[in-house]
Symmetry: C2
Subunit: 512 residues, 2 copies
């Protein structure tokens, strides 16, 4: 038995080596060119990135946001890209660039955003948000600040660069221009017409994106949009996504007595709006998190066989995540997170009634409020979903109003609920079976081996602007490490992710 | 028919006149003496009250609270009362006084408190809390400030005096000393030995009351404690109460992920503590407000026939209250408020999870907290009641902790709830059938006709200190109007309530 085991082990090693060899044999020249170029120019690449990161980039900071746009324009122009700024009213300009490739029949648009989330400098440890520093590891893992390596010495790929937007979302911009340098150096020609569309107000909710896209529609024809944003998988494996969930939300307020009442003098008699709201919320979902609102899951566009197959290839991080998050269980009947995000969700994002803690008083509250968000998947309309929840609320005996009820309304209806609806947009999903989808998958897998293909991101990105409005496929290409602290203080990028990003862009720029 | 109606109307008038006459015929001389004296000395009475109200009386204001005690001591001494201050550690002194009545075999203690709720001067309209002013009516009814009437002119009984503690609880102190003046003027002798016990930290929760009562136990022997505190009925009819509900409370926190999570990336998978708490709270009570916790209503001491009969005599204010409070329904199966407060209650006094309104974010909250108070009735222990709720929570699958759970606990138990219990005390109820109870009822009804007899107050007062610890009956004698804004800004007393208070005290000081 021992001999047999040894034989099997050796066989496995041989087979694995062969497989690796096969993968390596297919590895595109562009990826190798990118890797070689990066190794030779790490100091220059980091210097250019540091300069870009040093320009404050909060969308509302008009002057600096324009400095970013101008700096990025110059970065592109240095690589021979024809650049213009797409202006619209008060919006930060979109940095738009074009590379026409002789003979190319395919046009790809690379989308990224150069603005970042607002910053709270007091919460940053060791550096200011726009003064990048290197660390030996993540802050959470005890990394400490380190100086730049000496000229000629290499950067350790596990080091991290700390500054706002290192991960979200200047990394793709740096990766793209560096990939162009590498390809040029090795004389590798592009295979598509390339457009760049770098937005400056994504973190502010892209309030003008639809208008800008409409205004410059003629410039934006393309066979696919590559949305370079978001983090890769927790296992650090390369991942791409073909959709994003839509989102909407609303806030409900339930009414009790017109003023807070003494709980002793009026308890058992005056209705308590906190209890009423608790019962209403409890009626919306079962213990396992399944939404009980009638029709909530109606119309979901089923996943294709290709999409279902993609789940099987994705790593199962759920146990790891539960441990990290201190969770003794998960909703969804023990289903996998990656699959569960392909269903719409209804989430209580907060509730409030009177006071808790030191300021709690023995009162029957006057009102109770809950704030709810809904995530949509392909086939489910955001407004219709909220309508269904409203219908559910009515079925629980509530009269729905849109502003605080007057005395007459209060006396007429026992149970009154005010709703304030917010805006929203629908989910979007590009088929993995499209030619361009297969081309992207094939290209990346030739460089990385099996990649993770997500039918949808759990989060919401207004991909519908590209897929539904411009009628173009949209595929998400993330670069940043998952633990990049995006949107928070101490944002960072792991250098290996940046290095990988350069190869990823080189591969996409030259894909078959 | 018209003639017949006229006849009936005349008959009613005659009968009503006769009834009124009967009541007036029994009206005690002490009540008339009090009324005559008050009419003749309104200006002096108001001057003395205004002076008393001008001394700030927040329990924590050591210097001023002692000034109150000294001022009240002098008020009593001027009426021949033997006064001493009962001192205990850091507590404001209790103003204690005695009148020995030759031949009297009964001893009554009049309890009141001279401290008031903390004040927020910015919320007072038109005067500072310790600078009393007169208004032509309540602020809510559009009353405006008016000057004192000229010397010799009468005060309109619907006028109101605005200042902290006008209603809660300096009114009984003024009423008592004025009643003593009136009785002395008419040479009417007292019928009981009288003790005064005026506390100085009731609004701070009477933290030393039990200790003080223990320390001065020998002084405090009595046949009954008359607790002069609280408001009269909303119809302004005289009301007395024979008990008060006990009270306790606790706060529960339910745990979700260790940090707030992106609702898109983790929704449908990560448990939402706000939903969990909503379901838990919903499980505690039915739609009609009845508590579903097993054993919650066990052990309730049943009401006597006399107590049940008292309900029949009480006015039904429920419809009026619903209108005032903007309520289209009430809990308790349409039962009367006055009866429903004779059951224990469980009230959500507040809840909170993440944020609502402008600061709401699309997150799965990390925790959700609810604060709950329980009111007890006679026969139900406050600690046992909380124990029963904890048992209920366990039956819903929760593991209960008393501090934030560590990682190991989090992973071991799917549903974890932290409880923080607060102190509390039990309900107290004195029988209406005791001799002294009947004497108080008879005395007051001889002055006012049918009075409202409440087996219990809805609110909580630590009457158990008198009834259970000192083993003395305790009967509540309120004076203030129900709409006196007690505990809030713009506290006031309606002058007729103050005038009635003087008569009430005169009647009690001389009751058979």
């Amino acid at each position: 038995m021992k001999k047999q085991a040894k034989f099997i082990a050796v066989l496995i090693i041989i087979l694995f080596g062969a497989m690796t060899h096969v993968v390596n044999a297919q590895r595109p020249a562009s990826a190798d060119a990118a890797a070689r170029h990066r190794k030779a120019h790490e100091h220059e690449i980091m210097a250019e990135y540091t300069e870009l990161l040093s320009i404050p980039n909060v969308a509302s900071d008009k002057q600096n946001i324009r400095r970013n746009a101008q700096f990025i324009s110059k970065m592109l122009e240095r690589r021979g890209v024809a650049v213009r700024l797409l202006e619209h009213e008060d919006a930060p300009p979109v940095v738009y660039g074009e590379i026409r490739t002789p003979g190319a029949t395919r046009t790809l648009v690379f989308y990224a955003h150069y603005d970042g989330q607002p910053v709270e400098p007091a919460k940053w440890v060791g550096n200011e948000p726009f003064k990048p520093i290197l660390r030996s590891a993540s802050l959470e893992a005890g990394g400490s600040e380190i100086p730049l390596p000496e000229k000629g010495a290499r950067f350790n790929p596990e080091w991290r660069l700390y500054a706002r937007s290192t991960g979200d979302d200047k990394a793709p911009i740096l990766s793209l221009v560096t990939a162009l340098d590498a390809l040029k150096h090795d004389g590798i020609t592009l295979t598509s017409n390339i457009k760049f569309f770098f937005e400056g107000e994504e973190e502010a909710g892209s309030p003008h994106l639809e208008k800008i896209v409409e205004k410059y529609r003629d410039l934006l024809t393309a066979d696919a949009w590559l949305i370079c944003d978001g983090p890769v998988d927790q296992t650090r494996r390369q991942q791409i996504y073909f959709g994003a969930r839509g989102v909407t939300g609303f806030e409900v307020t339930v009414y009790g007595p017109k003023r807070e009442l003494h709980s002793g003098h009026y308890g058992n008699w005056a209705p308590n709006p906190a209890l009423m709201l608790a019962k209403l919320l409890a009626s919306m979902k079962d213990d396992d998190g399944r939404v009980l609102v009638k029709g909530f899951y109606d119309g979901i566009e089923p996943l294709s066989e290709t999409e279902k197959k993609a789940f099987a290839d994705a790593p199962d991080n759920d146990s790891l995540l539960k441990k990290e998050l201190g969770l003794g269980w998960s909703e969804g009947g023990g289903g996998r997170l990656i699959e569960l995000i392909n269903l719409p969700s209804l989430n209580i994002r907060g509730f409030s009634s009177a006071s808790v803690g030191a300021t709690a008083r023995n009162v029957i509250p006057s009102t109770a409020t809950a704030s709810i968000d809904i995530r949509l998947v392909k086939g489910v309309d955001h407004q219709k979903s909220v309508d269904r929840v409203m219908e559910h609320i009515r079925s629980q005996g509530y009269f729905i109003v849109e502003s605080d009820p007057d005395d007459q309304t209060r006396l007429k209806y026992p149970k009154i609920l005010k709703v304030v609806r917010q805006g929203g947009y629908n989910a979007s999903r590009t088929s993995m079976d499209l030619a361009v989808s297969r081309q992207v998958i094939t290209a990346l897998e030739s460089a990385y081996g099996r990649i993770i293909r997500m039918p949808t991101l759990g989060g919401s990105v207004p991909l519908y602007i590209f897929t539904d409005y411009l009628k173009a496929p949209a595929i998400g290409i993330p670069i940043a490490n998952h633990d990049n602290n995006q949107h928070s203080s101490n944002e960072n990028i792991r250098l290996q992710n940046l290095w990988d990003g350069i190869e990823t862009m080189a591969v996409l720029l030259t894909m078959k």
